[in-house]
Assembly symmetry: C2
Homo-oligomer: 374 residues x 2
């Protein structure tokens, strides 16, 4: 290999975006593919687009001249009731038309806000001086930094948390403007802001690759949700969203990336993997995740009941992890969906308490603790 060749891989990660603010510039085909991936994450999407031909005073009963934008509106913005009394009216001041989805929440399956005009650079700093950042705007930067470094009061620190863009996605044809957005965002928000400019690899801090889910694809069934279902009193501040109140859907997410080398090949590989592990295969991903999730939760509860906190529960955690690893390995990818969770929980209790954290498992785990058909 040439010495000047830089051997680099990406770091593939599963980004948690629930309740976080995402700026999406553009409304073309690529923007639609981004929305398909973003909506199920529960992020708060702000879509900025001037690419709308007709006058959009009232977005409910719309029939835009732009086919693609109509798709976006119907799928991810018009309230499912589709009734005149639930219409969304522009709320912008000056010449901006700003449409905010009524009572938006993280699993309503909708775009939070559509800003109907061309992108402005001020959009990058939309939250810098907003009221949500009031705690930080009143004192100067270095005083604030000193204060943060000094205090060890978690609640005080949490109370200072403000909002900002978590991710910026640019999906427009104008490469010159895209480049300006990229560099200005880096300067205004810090170099750590994650940006993806579609089709311009040097302006991508991350690639989307081919990604897909195995198990029930948990797209939110928007037609099944009615405005009346939504808790109007929920304020959706990012503060009240923690993993404690998120129930994950039982599915596996997979990302395949060739680091831009061959997007089409990754897509073929994706189809091949789906044929081998998807719903039409003999691997039962969803049922396996349900069983394993339940087993994990229940033996964790047993641990919590039996922990005396004398050593912070470390020994118990370690035992539980060894135990579940062994059991999962015994059942393997093919048989986890057949686990008899009740009986496994009983076994765990026995081994943990009666047998004093034994790791001597019964023989033939799958036969003994699986619901095999006779």
């Amino acid at each position: 290999m040439n010495n000047n060749t830089r051997v680099v891989l990406s770091l593939p990660v599963a980004t948690r975006l629930c309740g976080k603010k995402v700026l999406l510039v553009g409304s073309g085909e690529v923007a639609i593919s981004r929305l398909e991936k973003l909506i199920p994450t529960g992020c708060q999407i702000y879509l900025v687009t001037g690419d709308i031909e007709d006058d959009l005073d009232d977005i409910t009963c719309t029939s835009s001249g732009n086919k693609r934008f109509e798709t976006i509106l119907k799928k991810w913005f018009v309230p499912p009731s589709k009734l005149g009394n639930a219409k969304i009216t522009a709320t912008g001041t000056s010449n901006d038309d700003i449409y905010t989805y009524p009572n938006w929440h993280t699993n309503c399956g909708k775009i939070y806000q559509i800003i109907k005009r061309n992108f402005k650079f001020q959009d990058l700093t939309m939250f810098m001086n907003s009221t949500s950042n009031k705690n930080t705007s009143s004192i100067n930067k270095s005083e604030f930094s000193a204060l943060v470094e000094r205090t060890n009061d978690i609640n005080l620190l949490k109370s200072y948390l403000g909002d900002n863009w978590q991710v910026i996605l640019v999906c427009i044809d104008d490469i010159k403007l895209s480049e300006l957005i990229y560099y200005k965002a880096k300067l205004l928000l810090g170099p750590q802001i994650m940006i993806n400019v579609a089709d311009v690899p040097p302006l991508c801090d991350f690639y989307f690759g081919s990604n897909f889910t195995l198990g029930e694809v948990p797209t939110v069934d928007t037609d099944a949700i009615r405005i009346s279902d939504i808790d109007i009193n929920s304020n959706n501040s990012s503060d009240d969203i923690t993993l404690d109140n998120i129930s994950c859907v039982p599915c596996i997410q997979i990302l395949i990336s060739s680091n831009g080398l061959s997007p089409r090949f990754t897509s073929l590989l994706k189809n091949d993997i789906i044929s081998k592990y998807g719903s039409s295969s003999n691997i039962h991903i969803q049922e396996s995740c349900v069983k394993l999730g339940e087993l994990r939760r229940r033996i964790r509860d047993i641990n919590n009941t039996n922990s005396d906190n004398s050593n912070g529960g470390k020994e118990l955690i370690s035992y539980r992890m060894q135990w579940i690893k062994y059991v999962t390995d015994q059942f393997g990818v093919k048989y986890c969906h057949l686990m008899d969770v009740d009986n496994l929980v009983k076994l765990y209790k026995k081994m943990l308490i009666d047998d004093s954290m034994s790791l001597e498992f019964p023989a033939n785990m799958v036969q003994a603790f699986g619901n095999l058909s006779p």
Copy 2:
């Protein structure tokens, strides 16, 4: 489904970290697993750890009392020459022992810097007032913002770019300290900074999941690289790193995440996928990526030669993409490695130029343009 259940998926992405700064706090087992994933990305790792038992004045011929830290040193920090004349001596002032890898570059397979002491909150703002940010520190924040918003001069904007942490990874046993690091980092660097606190899901902006490569695993062969191979004059500033001078290794990266539901099941699935697509399978990932990468590059070159720029080459790009999609699909996951690239390039030229962008392909593509054994 319960209305209060938040249905959320992650957004799986391939993060590009080449040349970017990553703070890793801790040196235990989890830190080692992080290093294994980080090193091949070419990121600039700063490892902060006080968990070193012996006195580490000279890091070359080390024999640390701490087994795990010794692993880290040997694999990712001691120069491969292992000679006394390449020893790394602490460069820290005050009581800090700071070791910087000599002539570090993005594919040397090494940690950039080891800071041998407990984490300090000042580590979070290490680059805020550094010389690399000199352009921004001399004027105040709002003046700078106004300047950035006003100018459309890309080179001027690029000249202002500074450094900062791109990702912060906390792998220590102290949950209280981990929580303080998380919130202070968010306040000091902005809420968009990506943080992962090992084993504390609510303090994770992203999960690692199970990730792996198919095709040649491109771990840098550190023993094959000698200090003398390294270009001492390269300054490795993040400016000169673009995708243009990065050659990707021909492999596919895959991430499997159960969003924390069952890490062990994702690991089983990973092994199953490796058995079906890995080097011992009949799918030739690496050769396929090489062939497809070459084909893509060569037909892009043909496009560039034949583009008159009259319509920005858009029509040509669209033709090229349809063409390669068809060809890749014909060969499929199983046969891409058998592509006769020379003959396919000839076919592309003919169809593009002689046949005026025809999409009428010959029959039996695989038989006609594959190097099938007789």
